[in-house]
C-alpha cells in the first residue's frame, strides 16, 4: 500500500521531466566522429603502477642530469675535481700526488 502510494507520488513529481540525452550517451559509448574519438581518448582512464613508474622516472632523470654535468670533454683521468698541490721537499718542487706516490712506492719496496 504504502509502496504504491510512494510510486504514485514519484511519478507525479517526475512527470514534467523528459530524458533527451540519448544521442549524447550513444556518442560517448560508440564514438563515430574524430572529435568524439579524441575526447574518448582524452578522458580514458588508465591503471598505473605508481611505485615502479615513479622509480624509473627518477632513475632516468638522474642519469640524464649526471651525463649532462660531466660533459664528454672531461676525460676519465681528470674527473677528480681536486686541486693538485705543489710541494717543496729539500729544494725540489713536485706535484704532491706524484710525490706521495713515489714515496709510497719506495716505502713498499723497502719492506718487500
Amino acid at each position: 500500500m504504502e509502496r504504491e502510494s510512494m510510486n504514485k507520488r514519484l511519478r507525479e513529481e517526475l512527470d514534467g521531466l523528459r530524458f533527451g540525452g540519448q544521442e549524447d550517451v550513444v556518442r560517448r559509448t560508440h564514438p563515430r566522429s574524430w572529435r568524439d574519438r579524441l575526447r574518448a581518448l582524452w578522458n580514458k582512464e588508465l591503471e598505473i603502477p605508481v611505485v615502479p613508474l615513479g622509480l624509473s622516472f627518477a632513475v632516468i632523470l638522474a642519469v640524464v642530469a649526471a651525463s649532462q654535468l660531466r660533459s664528454p670533454e672531461d676525460d676519465g683521468d681528470a674527473a677528480s675535481g681536486e686541486a693538485r698541490q705543489l710541494i717543496e721537499v729539500g729544494g725540489n718542487t713536485y706535484w704532491k700526488d706524484d710525490y706521495e706516490r713515489a714515496v709510497a712506492s719506495i716505502e713498499s719496496d723497502g719492506q718487500g
Binding site: E47, G81, D98
Partner: protein, 743 residues
C-alpha cells in the same frame, strides 16, 4: 593508481618543461660554476672545462667569462701570467703554487682576446686584452699587428683611449721609432689631465727614457722634476678636496723618484741596450718567456706593472731592451711550468748587470738540465762508517758543492756539507757528517721561546730522514747547474734524494734530546764524555748545546763554556772547519789575536787554502782592529772579489781612509764595489758618504778634520761607538753610523 590520459599528458608536458629548464638554464649554470671552481682551484682539466664553458655560454656571459678568467685572472698581464719567476737567488711561484697551471697558452687564448677587443665593453679589461695582444704580436715579430690592435682598441674611444695611446708610444720606442713615440707623448701631454694620477707620471717616465735614448739625460731629469712637482701639486689639491682621504702616494711617484736617482748619477749618460737570448743548453730557444730587467731598487719586491723593462721573448728566444737608463740591474725570467720542469737557470745571488752610458750589452740566458743524483736515494738506510754521495757528472764542472737538508719543526734547513768537491762523487766519514755545522730551530712552549733540542742533533739522529742536493760550478766559480728544482712529471721526478743515517744508534743522551729534556741531556753527554774522552759525538753535542744556549741568551759566558769542548773535539778531529771557525770567532771577539790568527790559518789550511768571502772579511776586520791596516786591506780586497754582495765594503773603505788614502781614491773604490742588498731602504751609498766627507773636509781646516776622522775611526775599530759618534760633523757621523751597521 588510476589516471586519465589528459592528466598524464599534462604531467608529461610539465615534466618536459622542467627538463628543458634544467637542460638549457640550470645545467649550463652549474657547468659554468663547476668549470670556474675547477679552474680557480687548479684542478686537473680545469682549463679545458673553462674553455668548454666559455664556448657553451650565452653571448653576454661569454664575454664576462673571457674577461674574468682570461683577460684578468690573478695579476695576469701578458708579462705577469707565468707560473714561476726566477731571478738571481730567488724563485717564486704565482698564486702560492697550488694546483695545475692556470696560465693560458697563447694558442688557447688568442681567439678569445681578439674577440674581446672587438666585442667587449670599452673599459679597462679591453685595454688589458689589447695590450696583452700587442705584447704577443711583438713576441711573434708582428709589430704592424701589435700597433694595429692598439690603434683599433683606441679608436673605439672611452676613458682608456689615452692609456692605449701610451702603450702605442712605448711600442714605437721599442721598435726604435723614437720620433713617432715622442709625437705621441707630446699629444698625450697636451690632453687635459687624467683623473688617474699615475697616468701623467707614466707618460713622463717614457718621455725621460726617450730623452735618455737621445743622450739628453739632463732634459730627462728636468722632465721628471717637472712631473714630480706637478704630481705633488695635484696631490695637495686632491687632499684639499677630500681631506678625509689621508695619505696618498701614487705608485708612479716612487717610480719617478727612483728614475730621478738613476738620472742624477748619469747626467751626461745616454740610453743603453740590453739584449740576448733565452735558450736551453741543447740549443732550443724558449719562446714567449717573460724577461724582466729590474733596477736595484726594485729587486726586493715582486715584479709590478710600473717597472719599465718587461718583455716577452720571440720565437727564437730573443729579447731586447732599448733606452735603458744607466744603472745596476738584475735579470729575471717568467716561465710556465713546462718550460722549467727538469731545468734550471743557474743564476747567482749577486749577478748584477752594470749598464753604462750608451752600452750595448748582451746577456744570454742558458737553461741547464737538472743533475741526476745517484746515491744515496729513495730512503736508503746507511749503516756503514762512510757515506758515499754520487751524481751524474756535469760537463764543464770544475767543482761541486754538496748540501744536506734536515727537516726541522717548521720546515727544513739546508747547509753545505762539502765545498770544492772535484769529482762527481765523495765518500765521507759518517762521524764527519755528524759534526757538520747545522742550524737549529726554536719552538714556542707556553709562550716561551725555547731551543728545539731534537734539531741540535743535526745529522746524528738515526730516526730522521735527511735529504741532499748538489750544485756544479765551473773553474771561475760560476754555477752551472744543480740537482734541485722543478720536477713535475714522470721523466723529471727522478730518484728521491732521501736517506737515513743508521750507522749509530741513539744514545741515552740523544733520547733525552729527542724528548726535549735539554739540561738532562747535557748532563748525560758530560757523563758519557768523562767515561770515554774519545767520544766525539758527546763532545760535539756539549759544544753545540752551549753555543745554541749562548746565542739564545746572547750570553758570552755560555759561549765561553763551549770552548774547552770545542778544543777537545779539535784534538780528535783536527780538520773540522766548523770548529776551527768557531774558535777563531771566539778568540777574535775576545781580542786574543794570537790564538784567533792561529785558528784562522788552520781553518784556511783545512779547506785546502780556500776560504770564503764572509769569513775572510771577518779575518780582515780582525786585522783592522789590530791596526794591521796593510794586511787588512789586502784581505778585504780579496774578500770583496769573492763576496760580490760587498757587504763589508764599508769596513774596507774605513781601513783605506785610516791608512791615509785620499777621499777621491776612496770614493772611486766605493763606486767600484757598490754594496748590494735588496733592502727596502737600500744599502748605504758609500760613494756618496765618502764624497760628503770630502766636502766636509774641504769646508774647514783639513788637518783638523783628518785628525777628527782618525779619532772616530780608531774609536769605531775598538767598538766604542759613542766616542766615534761624538766626533760631531754631520757627514762624519753619517759615515760612522753606516759603518756601525756593517754586518
Amino acid at each position: 593508481m588510476t589516471v586519465k590520459v589528459k592528466h598524464l599528458v599534462i604531467a608529461a608536458l610539465l615534466l618536459g618543461t622542467a627538463l628543458s629548464l634544467l637542460q638549457f638554464v640550470v645545467i649550463p649554470k652549474l657547468q659554468v660554476r663547476a668549470a670556474v671552481n675547477d679552474y680557480v682551484a687548479g684542478a686537473p682539466g680545469g682549463k679545458k672545462a673553462m674553455l668548454a664553458a666559455i664556448d657553451r655560454a650565452a653571448p653576454s656571459q661569454r664575454l664576462e667569462l673571457i674577461r674574468e678568467y682570461m683577460v684578468f685572472y690573478g695579476d695576469a698581464t701578458a708579462l705577469r701570467s707565468f707560473d714561476v719567476y726566477v731571478g738571481p737567488g730567488s724563485t717564486y711561484a704565482f698564486g702560492q703554487g697550488d694546483g695545475e697551471s692556470r696560465v693560458w697558452s697563447w694558442e688557447e687564448k688568442l681567439p678569445y682576446l681578439l674577440e674581446y677587443v672587438s666585442e667587449g665593453p670599452v673599459d679597462s679589461s679591453r685595454y688589458s686584452a689589447a695590450t696583452q695582444l700587442a705584447q704577443y704580436y711583438m713576441s711573434e715579430g708582428l709589430s704592424a699587428e701589435a700597433l694595429a690592435v692598439l690603434e683599433k682598441a683606441e679608436e673605439r674611444g672611452g676613458n682608456w683611449r689615452t692609456k692605449l695611446a701610451l702603450e702605442r708610444a712605448k711600442l714605437y720606442a721599442r721598435l726604435g721609432d723614437s720620433g713617432e713615440a715622442m709625437r705621441l707623448v707630446e699629444r698625450l701631454e697636451a690632453e687635459p689631465p687624467s683623473v688617474n694620477l699615475d697616468f701623467s707620471g707614466e707618460v713622463a717616465q717614457l718621455k725621460a727614457q726617450l730623452l735618455v735614448g737621445e743622450g739628453k739625460a739632463d732634459a730627462a731629469l728636468q722632465a721628471v722634476d717637472r712631473e714630480l712637482k706637478a704630481l705633488e701639486e695635484r696631490i695637495a689639491e686632491e687632499k684639499k678636496k677630500f681631506p678625509e682621504m689621508g695619505e696618498l702616494t701614487p705608485a708612479v711617484m716612487e717610480e719617478l723618484k727612483r728614475l730621478r736617482e738613476q738620472l742624477e748619477k748619469t747626467l751626461d749618460g745616454t740610453g743603453a741596450t740590453v739584449s740576448g737570448t733565452v735558450k736551453r743548453s741543447d740549443g732550443q730557444p724558449l719562446a714567449r718567456v717573460g724577461v724582466f730587467l729590474r733596477r736595484e731598487s726594485d729587486v726586493y719586491h715582486s715584479i709590478v706593472d710600473g717597472e719599465p723593462y718587461q718583455i716577452l721573448t720571440d720565437a727564437q728566444g730573443r729579447y731586447e731592451f732599448n733606452n735603458v737608463v744607466p744603472g745596476s740591474y738584475q735579470l729575471y725570467l717568467g716561465l710556465p711550468f713546462e718550460q722549467i720542469d727538469g731545468w734550471t737557470w743557474p743564476t747567482m745571488k749577486d749577478d748584477w748587470i752594470e749598464v753604462g752610458s750608451g752600452d750595448a750589452l748582451t746577456e744570454n740566458v742558458m737553461m741547464r738540465p737538472l743533475i741526476d743524483i745517484q746515491e744515496p736515494v729513495n730512503g736508503a738506510e746507511l749503516t756503514g762508517s762512510t757515506v758515499k754521495f754520487s751524481w751524474e757528472p756535469v760537463e764543464g764542472a770544475s767543482t761541486y758543492t754538496l748540501y744536506g737538508t734536515i727537516p726541522i719543526e717548521s720546515g727544513t734547513s739546508s747547509m753545505a756539507i762539502r765545498e770544492g768537491v772535484a769529482q762527481s762523487e765523495i765518500e765521507l766519514y759518517a762521524e764527519d757528517l755528524y759534526e757538520t755545522g747545522t742550524s737549529y730551530s726554536f719552538r714556542d712552549v707556553d709562550g716561551k721561546h725555547e731551543l728545539d733540542s731534537a734539531s741540535l742533533l743535526g745529522f746524528s739522529n738515526p730516526e730522521l730522514r735527511y735529504l741532499w742536493y748538489v750544485e756544479a760550478y765551473d773553474k771561475d766559480g760560476r754555477l752551472i747547474t744543480r740537482s734541485n728544482g722543478y720536477r713535475l712529471n714522470e721523466d723529471t721526478i727522478g730518484a728521491l734524494p732521501f736517506f737515513y743515517l743508521k750507522e749509530r744508534a741513539a744514545t741515552a743522551a740523544d733520547r733525552l734530546m729527542l724528548d726535549g729534556r735539554l739540561d738532562e741531556a747535557l748532563a748525560e753527554y758530560k757523563r758519557a764524555h768523562e767515561a770515554d774522552p774519545l767520544d766525539r759525538h758527546s763532545l760535539n753535542m756539549i759544544a753545540r748545546i752551549y753555543s745554541a744556549k749562548a746565542s739564545l741568551a746572547g750570553s758570552d759566558e755560555l759561549r765561553a763554556q763551549a770552548i774547552p769542548y770545542l778544543e777537545a773535539l779539535l784534538r780528535l778531529a783536527p780538520a773540522n772547519r766548523n770548529v776551527l771557525f768557531n774558535l777563531f770567532d771566539h778568540y777574535d771577539k775576545r781580542n786574543e789575536w794570537f790564538k784567533a790568527e792561529a785558528y784562522y790559518e788552520r781553518y784556511v789550511a783545512a779547506g785546502g787554502g780556500q776560504t770564503d768571502g764572509y769569513i775572510q772579511s771577518l779575518y780582515a776586520t780582525s786585522l783592522m782592529k789590530q791596526r794591521r791596516m796593510d794586511e787588512a786591506i789586502v784581505q778585504f780586497r780579496e774578500a770583496l772579489e769573492r763576496d760580490r754582495s760587498h757587504r763589508f765594503v764599508g769596513r774596507y773603505l774605513a781601513a783605506e781612509l785610516y791608512a791615509g788614502a785620499s777621499f777621491g781614491k776612496v770614493a772611486e773604490l766605493a763606486a767600484a764595489y757598490p754594496e748590494r742588498g735588496p733592502y727596502e731602504s737600500g744599502p748605504p751609498d758609500w760613494r756618496k758618504l765618502v764624497e760628503a766627507l770630502a766636502a766636509e773636509s774641504e769646508a774647514g781646516d783639513k788637518n783638523a778634520y783628518a785628525e777628527r776622522l782618525e779619532d772616530a775611526l780608531e774609536a769605531s775599530f775598538d767598538g766604542d761607538w759613542q766616542a766615534a759618534d761624538a766626533a760631531g760633523k754631520p757627514a762624519l757621523r753619517a759615515f760612522i753610523a753606516a759603518l756601525r751597521k756593517v754586518d
